[in-house]
């Protein structure tokens, strides 16, 4: 019995010692800065957040392997927020006092709103997806890329051109379908006013509960309303399901489906190629074969994930975000040096990287003193033969935020 207890004790001590050594060895590495991600890895937005998180890690790993940024390593602290605000807040409180925590990345705008008061108090900064709120109130929150309403505005500009190209007279009728949540409503703040300013008839938005699987009723209503175009502002697989139902109802022959930046992913296109044929996607970043052929994305995915299959929209978005962070870090280091670098320095640096290129993964950086937009350009793709084929070059998005007066 005593022998058994002694063996158990030795094993326990061994485990404790190895954990201590492992953690101390990682702490012992000097000159690090921290990037906190509150990604939803097991919740409803996991399909989007996980590849973004993977991409950020892969890119920083490559940077660190190459000697870091001016010899400084970027350490990603990843917390699975499960799309739960309380967990995100708890995680932020846990890490907020960590020295050299430069930035917090939230996977939802709601989480960003919840941590914003603390971020303001801590004089730090955060990144969140695409709520126009960031641009409407210039504070310490920055969009990943363009605000959702600007992206929607770009789609409106495109469809007007398309309408003319098709030689049709009058103005087209536009339908809008999205989640009945903050995101779905957000697009209309500025987006609605922009459409009205163009004289286009916007049908009453069709909003549905996240998790809905059949969309016949909403689509039929839009079709009866005379929609010529339907803009789908949700994240895949839902846009694919919506377009699948539109195809089954025979609506895609008459109505042009347009997906927002999180629509028609590789998986969606592969699962319903016929239904998605002809669908237009407004994208912040490269997609399809263009993304797969991009040398950096290709190298990162193969090196760290072992397959090109990982080059998804989320992954591409993540690499772009990481490159902008690296650029801002260089700027902050040049301005204040490693000893003084903190969230405030990073916040100031982000406003000075206007025009920074990320190798063509997206348009040039648009962050600035008066801009919380990561980029102000989009690219259009059309699904053809099961692939996202480029339809345009990088195109400037309109400033729809300025159309909404009640921020």
């Amino acid at each position: 019995m005593r022998k058994k207890s002694a063996v158990l004790l030795v094993c326990l001590l061994g485990v404790v010692l190895s954990i201590t050594l492992l953690s101390s060895s990682s702490i012992a590495k000097e000159k690090k800065v921290f990037f906190l991600t509150l990604a939803d890895l097991t919740g409803p937005a996991a399909g989007l957040s996980t590849p973004i998180d993977c991409a950020v890690r892969d890119y920083f790993k490559s940077v660190n392997e190459g000697g870091g940024v001016d010899g400084i390593e970027i350490d990603v602290i990843g917390v699975d927020s499960r799309y739960d605000t309380a967990r995100a807040v708890s995680a932020y409180k846990r890490y907020r006092k960590r020295p050299k925590l430069l930035l917090t990345m939230s996977s939802s705008s709601g989480m960003g709103d919840a941590i914003q008061p603390m971020i303001e108090r801590d004089k730090s900064m955060f990144l969140a997806p695409g709520s126009g709120e960031r641009q409407g109130h210039l504070r310490r929150g920055f969009c990943f890329y363009g605000p959702y309403q600007d992206t929607f505005g770009a789609a409106v500009d495109w469809l007007m051109e398309d309408w003319k190209t098709k030689g049709k007279s009058g103005k087209p009728v536009l339908g809008y379908i999205a989640f009945d949540n903050a995101w779905g409503h957000e697009v209309m703040r500025g987006g609605k006013e922009y459409v009205e300013s163009k004289g286009i008839k916007l049908l009453p938005p069709e909003l549905f509960t996240p998790g809905t699987l059949k969309f016949d009723v909403y689509l039929t209503r839009l079709a009866k309303g005379g929609a010529d175009y339907i803009y789908v502002e949700v994240c895949d697989p839902t846009p694919t399901y919506i377009t699948r139902d539109a195809h089954a109802l025979g609506l895609t022959k008459k109505i042009q489906m347009i997906h927002g930046p999180w629509g028609a992913t590789k998986l969606g296109i592969e699962s319903h190629p016929e239904a998605l044929e002809g669908t237009v996607v407004v994208s912040w970043v490269l997609r399809g074969p263009e993304a797969e052929e991009h040398p950096l994305l290709r190298d990162l995915a193969i090196k760290h994930r072992g397959s090109l299959d990982y080059v998804t929209t989320g992954y591409t978005v993540g690499v772009g975000i990481a490159i902008f962070f690296e650029g801002a870090l260089r700027k902050a280091l040049a301005d204040v040096g490693y000893e003084k670098i903190n969230g405030q320095a990073m916040y100031e640096a982000y406003q000075k990287i206007t025009g920074l290129e990320n190798g063509g993964i997206s348009g040039p950086c648009a962050y600035g003193p008066k801009s919380r937009r990561g980029t102000d350009t989009v690219k259009f793709y059309r699904i053809k033969g099961g692939k996202a084929v480029p339809l345009s070059d990088w195109t400037k998005s309109p400033d729809t935020i300025s159309y909404h007066k009640n921020w």
Binding site: C54, R57, D84, K93, N181
Partner: protein, 349 residues
């Protein structure tokens, strides 16, 4: 918890919550420790205790309706949302003080709970559970679509103030939250030994027999819902003014499931069980959340997902293990421990 040889000599002693001088000592020492905690606890730990205390209040409400009255409710987080929004509306739109809005938000949630609990008069078990899920969906939908609630944008309630002193940090809010938790715990403990509490237990054990005994089922079931939702509403108000930003994403069905999970782990029909369940589940959550990055570092070739999925899988595994090996929860272990202490130096066979 009484040592061997200490007996109750009258009815007053039998029903007393605090019975012996040892109880008083532990209680007073515990309260001193609780209120002194911000002086030595880190900011993070203070925030965590705030979160625990709010969860205890919500789970106490659920314990009243589910653990004592036997009516399953999956709508507790919706009633928390009602309290949070009621408090925010009262303070933001009508300029009412937090100190008035706090009890009012409980009352508003209680009234909505009585309306929501009406199906319990006709259905029970699985059907009632489904009805409460529907109520959850309805409440969230209404919050999303009413102008007064700020719709999808949510609301930004202010921090409570007392004169010129603002409770605008976690360590300041700690005193309000912990005081409310202590009061609500005392109230819950007191309730279950009253005639109302005994009526709840009778309804839970056999509602037909309870009715035959003269217990008014309608009244007591609705009272149970009122109390459960009152607790939820109070917790929601505290949550809103602690976070200073609320939106519907903070009150999902998953949160309601977590509270049910806390009761399963802690033990149904026990006030201490609520504390055990809340502390266990919340601490487990935190441990998993903060070991995930570490595991991700060690097993980086697995990517972030395996370590992250620990969160959900451990919660599920813990529930399964408890249902299989300790269906009466940690409260039962506590009872066994108390019993063994009571008959010490003899052993329970």
């Amino acid at each position: 918890m009484r040592p061997s040889g200490v007996f109750d000599k009258n009815y007053g002693q039998d029903i007393a919550i605090v019975r012996t001088w040892q109880h008083w000592t532990v209680l007073i020492f515990g309260l001193i420790l609780l209120y002194a905690f911000p002086f030595f606890g880190s900011y993070y730990l203070i925030s965590f205790v705030n979160y625990l205390a709010i969860s205890v209040i919500v789970a106490l409400g659920l314990q009243i309706i589910t653990g004592y009255c036997g009516l399953v409710s999956f709508g507790q987080s919706a009633f928390m949302a009602v309290g949070a929004y009621a408090s925010s509306i009262l303070t933001v739109r009508y300029g009412i003080s937090f100190w008035v809005a706090l009890p009012l938000s409980g009352v508003v949630a209680g009234i909505i709970g009585v309306i929501g609990g009406a199906p319990s008069l006709r259905v029970k078990g699985m059907y009632l559970a489904l009805a409460t899920i529907a109520i959850h969906a309805l409440v969230i939908w209404l919050i999303m679509h009413l102008n007064i609630t700020g719709g999808y944008k949510g609301m930004f309630p202010p921090s409570p103030e007392l004169g010129s002193f603002a409770f605008d940090t976690d360590d300041r809010m700690y005193y309000i939250i912990c005081t409310v938790m202590v009061v609500m715990t005392y109230f819950a403990r007191n309730l279950v030994r009253s005639s109302v509490g005994r009526a709840f237990i009778a309804i839970r054990d056999n509602d037909l027999a309870a009715e035959v005994m003269g217990i008014n089922l309608y009244y007591h079931k609705l009272l149970g819902f009122f109390m459960a939702c009152f607790y939820g509403g109070i917790a929601g108000s505290l949550w809103a003014h602690l976070m200073t930003v609320i939106n519907v994403e903070q009150f999902t069905l998953i949160h309601s499931l977590e509270y049910i999970g806390m009761l399963i782990v802690g033990g149904m029909g026990s006030v201490p069980g609520v504390f055990f369940g809340v502390i266990f589940i919340r601490t487990l959550n935190e441990v998993v959340m903060f070991t995930s990055p570490f595991l991700g570092q060690i097993f980086s070739w697995l990517g972030p997902s395996p370590s992250a999925s620990l969160g959900l899988s451990t919660f599920g595994a813990v529930l399964i293990l408890f249902l299989k090996f300790e269906p009466r929860g940690l409260a039962h272990r506590w009872e066994v421990f108390k019993a063994s202490y009571r008959i010490y130096p003899f052993k329970i066979t």
